[in-house]
């Protein structure tokens, strides 16, 4: 129990080691992780866990191979292999694969991984929500000009559905990390998805699942979704909606809500160079003796990522500034 007001470095280091040890124990021999101990494979749990353990080459290679092997023909991923059509799990899976390839040359050179990355990026283009059929788009273009087609568009949870905050955030992360693909098309797609998030911010700051207003009532934000959207919008840090969301997130610092929300809040705050001591303190106090957090392996993986970021912000796997600086160094 971290009881004193000052969080000691060794507290977070110890908690991180225990969390990583717990995760290591739960990787299947074929590379995947489950949502819960002894559960079936989960693409999302695999993605976040492998990112937390990304420095371990064996873990990273196993996961990269698993993701590449279990990619659907359309370039996406389902929640587990052979679980129907590709769904929102494509975002975290793609994010993971891109970052693992950025971390390890051996993975980047793997033929299966390279093919999976190419297919996965193409699918990110195709899987966005489209509100208008081609004929309607054409008519809009003729009647109102290009501006009529510049509407915010994000990603759905499941094909043929509306766009929502969280899948849009996951897919934006997958496109922005480690860097945005050079093609102008991706720049435009990211712009529309950013626009969707910014337009759907709640009245007093932050985000909920995606309905900021329903039936003339303004709906409140959630802590977790706000933190997720903030992570995805680091390139929009000066935008008033982002600043307002950051203010909302900081206002919750003294609330010990849940492992998941504390972990992602800490990740977001650190990415924006804000203090996250209180979040980390609450988080560590929630850790179980076996090193896990809450009941899902995703919560443990995200807690480990938050503890890494807290320990050393250069270890923050979702820190856009860090990647931008690294990219600039490489270019020099």
């Amino acid at each position: 129990m971290v009881s004193d007001s000052k969080l000691k470095a060794q507290d977070s280091s110890r908690a991180l080691t225990k969390a990583l040890d717990f995760l290591c124990l739960h990787q299947d021999a074929t590379g995947w992780f489950p949502y819960k101990v002894a559960g079936q494979p989960s693409m999302e749990a695999t993605a976040w866990s492998a990112l937390a353990l990304r420095h371990n080459l064996d873990v990273a290679k196993g996961t990269a191979q698993f993701l590449a092997t279990n990619q659907n023909k359309d370039g996406g991923w389902s929640t587990e292999p052979a679980a129907g059509r590709s769904d929102w799990n494509s975002g975290p899976s793609m994010l993971c694969l891109r970052l693992l390839a950025a971390e390890h040359q051996e993975i980047a050179k793997n033929k299966d991984v390279r093919k999976a990355l190419k297919l996965g990026l193409a699918r990110l283009l195709d899987s966005r929500v489209e509100f208008y059929q081609p004929i309607a788009r054409l008519l809009l273009l003729i009647s109102q000009g290009p501006k009529a087609l510049a509407y915010g568009r994000g990603w759905p949870w499941d094909p043929d559905c509306y766009h929502w905050v969280e899948p849009t955030a996951y897919n934006l992360l997958a496109l922005k990390f480690p860097d945005l693909p050079k093609d102008e098309l991706y720049v435009r797609i990211v712009g529309f998805a950013n626009q969707f998030l910014l337009e759907h911010a709640c009245k007093d700051g932050g985000w909920n699942h995606g309905n900021n207003i329903t039936l003339e009532q303004y709906l409140p934000p959630y802590r977790l979704t706000t933190a997720e959207a903030l992570l995805a919008l680091q390139d929009q840090s000066e935008n008033p909606a982002v600043q307002s969301a950051l203010k909302y997130l900081k206002s919750l610092s003294d609330q010990d809500t849940s492992s998941l929300s504390l972990a992602v809040s800490a990740l977001a705050l650190i990415a924006y160079q804000q203090p996250a001591h209180q979040e980390i303190k609450y988080l560590i106090n929630r850790q179980k003796p076996d090193g896990s957090f809450a009941t899902s392996i995703v919560a443990t993986a995200l807690a480990a990522l938050a503890l890494q970021a807290y320990k050393d912000s250069s270890m923050h796997v979702l820190n856009l500034k860090k990647f931008s600086e690294e990219g600039a160094h490489e270019q020099q």
């Binding site: 949502y35 819960k36 559960g39 079936q40 989960s42 999302e44 389902s78 929640t79 587990e80 679980a83 129907g84 769904d87 929102w88 799990n89 929500v129 489209e130 509100f131 208008y132 059929q133 004929i135 309607a136 008519l139 809009l140 003729i142 009647s143 109102q144 759905p156 949870w157 499941d158 094909p159 043929d160 559905c161 509306y162 929502w164 969280e166 899948p167 909920n208 699942h209 995606g210 309905n211 329903t214 039936l215 003339e216 009532q217 709906l219 409140p220 959630y222 802590r223 977790l224 809500t257 849940s258 492992s259 998941l260 929300s261 809450a294 009941t295 899902s296 995703v298 919560a299």
Partner: protein, 358 residues
Amino acid sequence: MSSNSDDELNRRDFLKVAAGTAAAAAVATSIEGCSQSDPNLPSPLHITDEQRSWRKKGRSQVGILACQSYEEDVFETIKPQLSSLHLPDFKNKSVVLKPNMVEYREGKPVTTNPAVLIAAIKLAWHLGAKAVTVAEGPGHMRDTEYLLDVTGLGKACKEMDVPFVDLNLDDIVEFDNKNGFTKLDQFFLPKTIAEADAVVSVPKLKTHHWVGLTCSMKNLFGTVPGRKYGWPKNLLHVRGIPNSIIDLQHLIKPAFGFVDAIVTMEGDGPINGDAKHLGYIVLGQDLAAIDATCARIMKLKPTDYKYLRMAGEVVGNIEESEIDVIGPTVATIAQTYAMPITFGSNKELLKDAGSQGS
């Protein structure tokens, strides 16, 4: 020259206006896979013989048991009234109780009250269950740990020493749904639900801005796993809420419904409405009959709501004459509920259902 120029301009303007009009028309009707007309319009129901064969045979019984407050021991309050009811036999069965924990909104009766969940656990044991599990997959929020805490439902599980399963992250099982109403060939549902001997729906009675009311059948939306369908489970709206309700009811086949109708919700339910005290637990084995009876308690006509009309065809009894009510007569306890604005004179708002959460 000028005349020609004017002509050209007029033609261009005309084309732009014409294209704009056509675009508006196309746009209005072409939101791909996402549009939904009024889900409650009294349109003819297209039901196959196979689907009709799912319907319960014979009469149904619904118990309406008085319980004024959550401060009481709800189970002890209703226990003396149980002997007059046909209750399911849970002897040596594994029973999964599914409360409503869709979201948290401070001061709003959004979720099943913990006191009612505790009463349902005690009833399952009373009926001989060998194992009881509480399971839910919240519809709007991924943060189940937080919801369990703020709603008090997590504490209730701990107090009763009953495990909780987050259905959003549970292992999944594929269900064949080729004969369903949603036109989804398959549904992936949680293993905990698939393997249970009996599933009990433990909802909160509320008005609902897209389908009129939410009770024991709509509560089954929380069994659909977010790990596949997301938060919210938007596909269920896009494929038609009534269709989804009936498909889930058919696939899951809940054995029992135990409704928290002590403090209910009126107005803009299921999240933003206001508390309305009713003071009852409503229970039974035919979920169509439970929901139809609850509608009548709210002074709503069941056949005005499409999901109930469908339930009357393929689930069970919704006609008053086919339901034996044990307890006070509905007419003596019915109250007028303020309805969501979607059920006012302007039904256009109902078309937004596909793009909205619960």
